[in-house]
Amino acid sequence: MAPIASQYDYDLVVIGGGSGGLACAKEAVNLGAKVAVLDFVSPSPRGTRWGLGGTCVNVGCIPKKLMHQAALLGEAINDAQAYGWKIASPETIQNDWSALTEAVQNHVKSVNWVTRVDLRDKKIEYVNGLGQFKDANTVIAVMKNGSKKELTADKIVIAVGGRPHYPNVPGALEYAISSDDIFSLDTPPGKTCVVGAGYIGLECAGFLKGLGFDATILVRSVVLRGFDQEMAEKITNEMLDHGVNFQFKCIPKSIEKKANGKLLVTWINTESDTEQQDEFDTVLYATGRYALTKDLNLPAAGVEVVPENGKIDAINEQTNVSNIYAVGDVLQGRPELTPVAIHAGRLLARRMFGNSKQQMDYDNVATTVFSPIEYGCVGLSEDKAIQKYGADAIEVYHSYYKPTEYFIPQRSIKNCFLKTITLKEAPQKVLGLHFVGPHAGEIIQGFAAAMKCNLTMEILMNTVGIHPTVAEEFTRLNITKSSGKDPNPASCCS
């Protein structure tokens, strides 16, 4: 297939074969462009590598959700007994880590394969090499064996994503692992210290505890910084009740390997200014991710980055160089989520090759933290709503609720909570929906579409719920924070 812009090898070269890059490439090819995709995985400090598909498929969303599911199933086996299932020796039920990781990795590999087959079918050239700019229209791909391939393109999209950040703590690089490694770890992680209380740290500590491993989280400042803090507190309380050990206001000082093979972690409590130590089998760093722009040789193309974090501050996904664009986690100030990258990548391709003018709407993007008790939300947090509109202009409806299925196995309902943040003025436009509880991801999704239709509290209150579900609680909300009334439910069905 000859390119439309005939003086170049390709109409489009995409650097990065992850969620954003592949979506952009596939849409571009649908619109008649000749496209090449570069993808390369530099091994993690522990030596882990993986195939085509990016972070989400290999070391992110997919394996994470599968491990979260594995942990939930462990809980379900327990609950099942209350429902009459006869389990011979419940105390002997345990998870086989190597069976779990094999099953997860088999699935990941099948997705890698289907992705490659799909690129081939769509006639997208796939180059397994690390991309570097030679100039604004030329990219050099360096293969694992050192050989190089030069590609010229009319347009280039940077979709290189990011990797876990390893800080300058003695022993971190030598002994710690990250989310890059946990999903294919060849020995069970054992007693684990998770450094970081963002969603990655919480989710990892959560499923590790659920699978039967001792888990400790070192929290530098707050849990889930940037998220609604009232909801973050509910998740923290639930995880504490589950037996996860939180060390608040603590930062690691050093990691040493002892003669018995275990890792001795020393940390400083910044509040009391004291030092503490404990021995672990594994230390998992989850203190943030950095954009992979350093290896791109961006100066050769003249593309600017934000100096603090290497991210690209694009306007409508276009960099300061007119034919070079960026999409996905590499973008400054945008949600680092797969569906965001996919959607933005597709719209970008339509603007590049399809005469579309539609820009990506980054507002009201729904998301879910898959902690042991899940947290789903769409729209503004309470703090951000107050910041934007002022406390007097908003109303918060809140409630605790009791999932029907929890009564029989006597599961704790202490942290089953939801709230809706609205403008006070009629018809009370909904600014944010927040839900902590089972199946949060599935529940919030539909409400994201409702938000796009300018959902108001009047509409929500006039929506008939499905019973018995937990989602219907959004239609039953009627107690406001400002009223001071008790948000605990009296009983079901009224």
Binding site: H107, K109, S110, W113, V114, V117, R120, D121
Partner: protein, 152 residues
């Protein structure tokens, strides 16, 4: 038995006349009916497309659990037969074959006779379907009945 040995002799001889072969591979086909391991595209054309015998081509992957059930089952049923071959293709190593035969999922079973695709299954199929396919291609009854015949 000697008749089938003679039949077995003729096809590799034809292959020698057509394309140069490594002697290792020819002797394997003469002595007993080993599963064909496809090395590259030319190998496939030679051993499968140009074969006088029908070949069941099993597309297989290490990460595919149903494949781990189907492939051994196919070997068990086909290896004893002398007028039907089995070729196992690892999809990770043979991207072009995967593309040519439009294999979108594994396990996939493609029956080839005289260079043409005569049947295709995707997914784990039960023993009855495999046996019917074998019957269709080789005119053979499934293995157990054949043994009874030669014994009597």
């Amino acid at each position: 038995m000697s008749a089938s040995l003679a039949r077995g002799l003729r096809s590799p001889i034809r292959r020698i006349l057509n394309i140069s072969q490594q002697s290792r591979e020819i002797s394997t086909s003469l002595i007993h009916n080993d599963t064909i391991v496809v090395k590259n595209n030319d190998d496939f054309v030679d051993k499968v497309m140009n074969s006088d015998r029908p070949v069941i081509v099993n597309f297989h992957a290490e990460w595919c659990d149903p494949c781990k059930i189907l492939t051994p089952k196919l070997r068990e049923l086909i290896e004893p037969l002398d007028n039907l071959d089995l070729a196992v293709v690892d999809v990770e190593d043979h991207a072009e074959l995967v593309h040519t035969f439009e294999v979108k999922a594994v396990p996939a079973v493609i029956a080839i006779r005289d260079g043409l695709v005569v049947d295709k299954f995707i997914g784990l199929v039960d023993a009855t379907m495999i046996e019917n396919l074998i019957k269709k291609l080789s005119g053979n009854k499934p293995n157990k009945e054949k043994e009874k015949e030669t014994a009597s």
